[in-house]
């Protein structure tokens, strides 16, 4: 009995000490370096954004932010690792539309749920999606494109960078909105897919603006429309999908910061403030513009706004994407 009592007392004292530690932790946080998991390869679009924002955030927080690239399985390997990491605020993840939304629709047996296994920190950026085609594809504008692919559904080829890639997800939505189910030709990454589009071996593709500006400007491929409400300064001549007659197709490739479930709200608030401040930095704004990225408005940078975005996006992709085996 005494043993049990002592044990209970020890648990109580321990619990109190832990709670005390959490309070102290929130005030001093961070006292050591923070690991930011990027679930994609170094140099990719998400990695570039993570390094840019991470550098500014570490200046605000007074501790270095180390980027760890954990690649594999369309980013879900890194996201799984982040979901299982200690929720002490020293491990965060730069997730994106795939890892923290579309993956729910694609992989029903996924080891994590972005809605319940993470604490949202802040939305970081959105890269506009552009509808592209090989340069001698007959349709001249988006309207003709829609008619053409409807009529030739059985013979057109759509390229994508592999199941789960941004190009796969976003063109899946385009096909869904138009109401077609064309042959999708998979490539290992955006580079080879772009090579095939420039070489004329495939007909059309959807991709992030960052990856396509150079090719579109050089005229090696053509861009029909950009799937955002406003035109983009990097490609000012490309109309929006609304202007071009397909208002139902709206999507951006977004990146956002998350912490493992149970990370104390005080720490999330600190991280959120640092991220929001980084997005107001002139250097960050200029570089994001160079890359054709949109920076979210202040009201979209809160944890709550990101939480809602993730819920909406998961529902949206579940409607348009079929699960893969």
């Amino acid at each position: 009995m005494t043993i049990l009592k002592n044990f209970a007392a020890a648990v109580l004292v321990g619990g109190a000490a832990l709670a005390g530690a959490t309070v102290a932790q929130a005030q001093d946080y961070p006292t050591r370096q923070i690991t930011m998991i990027v679930p994609f390869a170094a140099g990719g679009p998400t990695d570039v954004v993570a390094r840019l924002v991470g550098e500014q955030m570490s200046k605000t927080l007074g501790q270095p932010i180390i980027i760890e690239n954990v690649v594999g399985a369309g980013g879900t390997t890194g996201a799984t690792r982040a979901a299982r990491a200690a929720n002490d605020g020293y491990t965060i993840i730069m997730g994106h539309m795939g890892t923290h939304a579309a993956s729910q629709a694609l992989y029903p047996k996924l080891a994590y749920d972005p809605r319940s296994d993470f604490e949202p920190i802040a939305l970081i950026n959105g890269a506009a999606i552009v509808v592209l085609a090989k340069k001698d594809f007959p349709p001249k504008n988006l309207k003709e494109f829609v008619e053409y692919v409807k009529k030739n559904e059985s013979s057109v080829n759509q390229a994508h960078a592999g199941v789960g890639a941004v190009s796969y997800i976003t063109c899946g939505l385009l096909n869904g909105v138009i109401g077609i189910n064309p042959v999708g030709v998979p490539f290992q990454g955006t580079g080879p897919a772009m090579n095939a589009l420039v070489g004329g071996q495939v007909d059309y593709m959807c991709d992030q603006i960052t990856n396509v500006v150079g090719q579109v400007k050089a005229g090696t491929i053509k861009a029909y429309a950009i799937a955002t409400p406003e035109r983009n300064a990097s490609l000012p001549d490309v109309p929006t999908t609304t202007e071009a007659g397909l208002p139902g197709y709206q999507t951006t490739a977004w990146n956002a910061l998350f912490a493992p479930k149970g990370t104390p709200p005080a720490l999330v608030a600190k991280l959120n403030a640092a991220a929001a401040k980084a997005l107001d930095d002139e250097k960050v704004i200029a570089r994001m513009k160079d890359l054709g990225n949109d920076i979210p408005k202040p009201e979209m940078r809160t944890p709550a706004a990101l939480g809602n975005l993730v819920k909406d996006e998961v529902d949206k992709w579940k409607k348009f994407l079929k699960p893969v085996g």
Partner: protein, 529 residues
């Protein structure tokens, strides 16, 4: 011509500035030192060191990255020759004769000829990029899925020739390699194949994991076998000259030239061309040699040819990146990442808009190769001295470095365990005279072949004639109207790449099978009794 000269002059004025020269040197040195660690190939090295270039100006960053790339490549060859652990597909071939030379006490000449061959290949490829970069881009675009598939078929046939023992066992190893390559996700549907619900297997088996196991760990287990350890110590006493003799140089010179030519062409092809370069060169050397039996037992041509091809391909693989702005392989994709981090949007216009960047990089390629030669020839002595370290000290360090290397590729502990399992498998294979090299090549070529087969079939809606008929199709379509004469050479050439490659594969098989030339084949594939 005038324009190219002025472009090159611009390039050298950028690359030869003291700062950029220093960055190039540091890059090549750091790349060599990291690349020499077993298990860390060029992709892993570049990925690991990429962040250190972020603080530099764009031109400096790219010059340093290019230096790291060449350094890592050469460092990988060093490991293959000294301890028989290839860090990537290209070095597998170097390990065959390079390590055999090292066992005979000729590690010095093997390392030196690799450096000299690479330097020559680098010089030629740099000139090629400057002169013909833009027109050669067309070749990269002409290669569609059907052409790649045919190229991979040819590549698999080359893989058989790598075997120095039984041809039947070599084929068995290739097939096993193909099977291993199918572990992972189906490219078209994303469905999991042979992954046993292990999340770490979702992307398939890593090359480094399997190579470390089959070559590195298996070799260590075998060396620790009773009796072999003494052999091992004998190697260290045999070390003779450090530099190649005049006879070595004379023998290697033609192999270097042939390797450079093959590598330069294959390197331009995005997605897999460069992989085939080194062993296409090896096959060529073995085929035209008067003494094919000596290959696999320390023939210096077996090092000179593939190493030159490897480096030439590494160099010309920059062409699609520089002219099209499209990264042809994983290393180039990292380079694109470095560009975007600096706010340079890659595309076909980079060459016109930022000539100092592109030509500075081209010039730095040549300088990088020169630096590698300067760094590595004196280092040969140090590397060879490493072989004198007693084996009881050497093998634990190799195991530790291998484990670190494998872990750092994906930051995944599972990979280290898998490499251990492949080490046991490799030991069993060595004991039963199965060679690991064809298995590794089957594993590298397998996914490329499967993906391109399925892409070609998807695009052709299952019509297998896509591999053959496109060659005569242009003429066939015009036959009714009779204006065949209007067709240009290019119209034919584009469609005929695939059938030509398949025809070449077929011819190679026939040569290997026909009884009339059987005596010659027996020289190439010695059936062990």
């Amino acid at each position: 011509m005038q324009e190219i000269l002025s472009n090159l002059a611009l390039g050298f004025s950028v690359a030869a500035s003291p700062v950029n020269l220093g960055l190039c040197l540091v890059g090549a040195l750091v790349g060599t030192l990291v690349g020499v660690l077993p298990g860390i190939g060029t992709i892993a090295t570049v990925a690991m060191l990429l962040p250190i270039t972020f603080g530099l100006p764009p031109v400096g960053a790219l010059i340093m990255l290019a230096g790291i790339y060449y350094g890592a490549q050469y460092g990988g060859s060093t490991t293959s020759i000294l301890v028989n652990i290839p860090g990537e597909a290209g070095s597998v071939v170097t390990a065959l004769d390079g390590h055999a030379m090292a066992k005979k006490g000729r590690a010095g000449p093997a390392l030196a000829i690799a450096a000299i061959g690479s330097f020559f290949a680098g010089c030629v490829a740099t000139v090629l990029i400057a002169l013909l970069g833009a027109p050669l881009t067309k070749l990269a675009l002409a290669f569609g899925p059907a052409e790649y598939f045919s190229l991979m078929v040819l590549g698999l046939i080359f893989a058989v020739v790598l075997a120095k023992g039984s041809v039947l066992k070599a084929i068995a190893m290739i097939v096993l390699g193909l099977l291993l390559s199918m572990v992972g996700s189906d490219i078209e549907t994303g469905a999991s194949r042979m992954a046993f619900n292990i999340p770490e297997l979702a992307d398939g088996l890593g090359f480094a994991t399997v190579a470390m196991g089959l070559f590195g760990f298996a070799e260590i287990i075998r060396n620790l076998d009773a009796g072999s350890a003494t052999n091992r110590d004998l190697v260290q006493d045999k070390v003779t000259g450090l530099m190649p003799t005049a006879k070595d140089l004379k023998e290697s010179a033609p192999a270097i030239v042939r390797g450079t030519a093959l590598g330069s062409i294959l390197g331009i092809l995005p997605g897999g061309g460069a992989v085939i370069a080194s062993f296409a060169a090896y096959t060529l050397e073995k085929k035209i040699s008067k003494n094919p039996r000596s290959f696999g037992h320390g023939n210096i041509r077996g090092v000179a040819g593939p190493e030159s091809a490897n480096n030439a391909a590494a160099q010309t693989s920059f062409i699609p990146l520089l002219t099209l702005g499209i990264p042809p392989n994983a290393v180039m994709a990292l380079m694109v990442g470095a560009m975007t981090i600096h706010g340079i949007i890659p595309g076909p216009q980079v060459m016109q808009k930022q000539p100092e960047l592109v030509w500075g990089m081209i010039a730095s390629m040549w300088l990088g190769n020169l630096m590698l030669l300067i760094i590595n020839l004196p280092l040969v002595g140090i590397w060879v001295r490493l072989l004198r370290v007693p084996y009881r000290l050497m093998f634990p360090s190799i195991v530790v470095f291998c484990a670190i290397g494998i872990y750092s590729v994906n930051n995944a502990p599972t990979d280290v365990v898998l490499a251990g399992i492949f080490g046991l498998l490799g030991y069993w294979l060595i004991k039963h005279d199965f060679e690991p090299a064809p298995l590794l090549l089957g594993m590298v070529l397998g996914p490329l072949m499967e993906e391109n087969l399925r892409r070609a079939m998807l695009i052709a809606r299952g019509d297998a004639s896509v591999y053959f008929w496109r060659c005569v199709q242009p003429a066939g379509q015009r036959l009714p109207s009779g204006d065949i004469a209007a067709l240009t050479f290019g119209d034919y050439a584009k469609g005929c790449i695939s059938p030509m490659l398949l025809l070449l594969s077929f011819v190679l098989i026939v040569i290997a099978i026909l009884p009339s030339i059987r005596s010659k084949r027996d020289e190439v594939f010695v059936e062990e009794s």
